[in-house]
Amino acid sequence: MKTSFSIGDVEFKNRVLVASGTFGYGNEVKDLVDVNKLGGIITKSLSWKPREGNPPRRIVETPSGMLNSIGLANIGVQAFIDEKLPYLRTLKTKIVVNIAASSVQEYCDVLSLLEKQEGIHAYEINVSCPNVKEGGLSFGTDCAMTKEITARLRPLTKKPLIIKLTPNVTHVSEFARAVEEAGADAVSLINTLVGMAVDVRTRKPKLSTTTGGLSGPAIKPIALAKVYEAAQAVKIPVLGIGGIQSAEDAIEFLLVGATAVQIGTMNFIDAGASVRIAEQVREFAEKANLDDVGKLVGALDANVKYSVLQSWL
C-alpha cells in the first residue's frame, strides 16, 4: 500500500500532517506519541523576533469547537534554530516550518535565515492569522498582497512553498489561483474562521481581543466546501485542514480533492490522534482494494442522487 505523496521534490511518508500551532515544536508530546509516524510536522508560526502573544483570555470553548486568540506567541526564528531545530532534525518525518510576519520584508528575512539551516524540508506561509493587528488577515484577505508575498518568497528557496489560506474571503479559489500563478508549490486551507463569544453576565467578549479564530469539528463542513472549491481551481496540491477528528473525516477531505490533510485542534485533546488517523486511512484504502491512498484524492462521486444516508440513521 502506497501511503506517501510529494510536494515538489519532497516526499512525505503519509498524507496526515499536524497543523501549525497545534503540535508545538514536536518535543512536547514525545512521551505520548511516536512522532516519526506522522506524514510531517508543521511547526508553530515563527516570526523574526519573539512574540509575547495576546493577553488572556486566549481560549474559549464553543459547541464542537474552540475560539483562540493566541496572537502568534512564539520564540522567534533564532531561538527556534538554536533550541528546537536540533531535536526536529533527529526525527524521521518531514519538517515544515510555518512563517508568520507583519511585513513582506519580515517574511523574506525569516525564510532567508531558515534557508541557511539543515533539516527543514518545506515552508508554510501563514498569511491568514486572524489574531494579530499587523499582517495576518489584512494580508490574507487581500488577493494581490497574498500573491505578492508568494512572488517575493519564491526566488528565495527551491524548497516547497505552501501558502496557508484563510476562509474569511468570498472566493478562496481566487486566492489559490493567484498563489499558484506566483509559484507556490501547494496551498493549505482553511485557517480559522473569525468568531466571537460573549459572557452575558459581564456583557464582555470572552476573548481579550473580542474576536478570535474558530477551529474544531464545528468548522469541518465549511472547510470541506472551501477545499473542494480550491482543489477544482488549481493543479498544485491542496492540503485540507479543518475539524478533522477521525479517519473518516480525513478521507472526506481526500475525496473532495485534498492531496493530504492536517490535523489541528484534535492534537490538543489527543496527541496520538494524527498517527492513529494516518493508520486508519491506510486501512480504509486497503479494505477498498486500492494500492495507493492517493487514489482517494479527488475521487468524489459528484453525481448527487437521493439515498437514505446510513450515518443519518
Binding site: 512536547e28 512521551d31 489527543d270 496527541a271
Partner: protein
C-alpha cells in the same frame, strides 16, 4: 506524563454542588505530587464539549485518585454525569507541584470555595512531617467541606453563616494579629480576586506564599499557549499556567481579577 483511559470508581455529590470523583491509576498515584493537576475528558455519552478540563489532584489514597469539582459549565456537567464504570480519558500528572522543600514549620493553607481542591492531598503529605498545618477556608455562604481531609480548619463566610464573618484573607489577618505561627508558608488557591488581595497582604507582611492558579487551557502541556499569566519580572512577559504553574510564588506573577 501519561495519558490513560480509566474507569470511574465513584462519583458522588458529597455536599451541595460539590462532586468527588474517584478513579484508580497506579501511574498517576505513584507520580503525582500536591499542586499538580490532571486534564480530563469525559468520553462516555455524547457531549458537544471538545476539550479536556483541568482539575487539581485533590487526594491520593493507595492507587485511588480523587478529583473535587463543582458544575460550572458543559465540561463539568458532563463529568458530573459520569457513573461508576464509565470511562474517562486522563492526562497527567501535569504542572509544577507546590515546593515543599522550602524551610517552613507551619503550612498555612488559604482556600476560597472550590480552591480547597488541591489541599487534602497537601495535608496528607505534610501530616507525615514535623510541622503544623493551619487551614483557612472562605466561602460566600455555607459551603460544606466537612467530609474533606483537612487539618485545623478556620471558616470564614461573607454572610457570617459559619465561623468568621468576612473574607478568608480578613480571617487570616485577624488570626495572625493574635497568633504567631512558627516560620509560616502560605499555600493558597481560590478565585483570582481573593488571591490578588492575599498576595498584597502577604507581601506587606513578608510572608512566603505560593498560589495555585486556574487557566483556560486546551492542551495542558504547553502547546496551545492558551493559559498565559503575566510575570512581574524577567524578559518574557507571560508564563504558562500549565507548564510553569499552576503553582507560582506570589511575587512572580501579576494577578488580575
Amino acid at each position: 506524563m501519561i495519558q490513560e483511559i480509566v474507569r470511574v470508581e465513584s462519583n458522588q455529590e458529597i455536599a451541595e454542588g460539590l462532586f468527588l470523583l474517584k478513579f484508580d491509576s497506579k501511574n498517576i498515584a505513584a507520580n503525582a505530587r500536591p499542586g499538580q493537576f490532571v486534564n480530563v475528558r469525559s468520553i462516555h455519552g455524547w457531549s458537544p464539549m471538545l476539550l479536556r478540563r483541568p482539575f487539581s489532584i485533590s487526594r491520593i489514597v493507595g492507587i485511588s485518585v480523587e478529583l473535587l469539582f463543582n458544575v460550572v459549565g458543559g465540561g463539568t456537567r458532563a463529568l458530573a454525569a459520569q457513573r461508576p464504570g464509565d470511562s474517562i480519558d486522563v492526562l497527567g500528572p501535569l504542572g509544577v507541584p507546590f515546593r515543599l522543600q522550602d524551610a517552613f514549620d507551619t503550612a498555612v493553607i488559604v482556600a476560597g470555595g472550590l480552591g480547597i481542591a488541591p489541599f487534602p492531598f497537601l495535608t496528607d503529605r505534610l501530616e507525615n512531617g514535623e510541622g503544623t498545618i493551619l487551614t483557612f477556608f472562605g466561602s460566600r455562604g455555607r459551603f460544606d467541606i466537612d467530609k474533606l481531609h483537612l487539618n485545623s480548619v478556620h471558616y470564614a463566610t461573607e454572610d457570617g453563616s459559619r465561623g468568621f464573618k468576612g473574607t478568608v484573607v480578613e480571617c487570616l489577618a485577624s488570626f495572625l494579629q493574635s497568633h504567631q505561627p512558627a516560620k509560616p508558608k502560605i499555600f493558597a488557591c481560590g478565585p483570582n480576586k481573593m488571591l490578588a488581595v492575599l498576595s498584597a497582604f502577604v507581601q506587606t507582611h513578608q510572608l512566603a506564599c505560593e498560589l495555585s492558579l486556574e487557566g483556560d487551557m486546551a492542551c495542558g502541556i504547553g502547546i496551545c499557549q492558551g493559559c498565559p499569566v503575566e510575570r512581574t519580572k524577567g524578559t518574557k512577559k507571560y508564563a504558562l499556567v500549565c507548564t510553569e504553574g499552576p503553582t507560582f510564588d506570589c511575587r512572580d506573577i501579576v494577578l488580575t481579577s
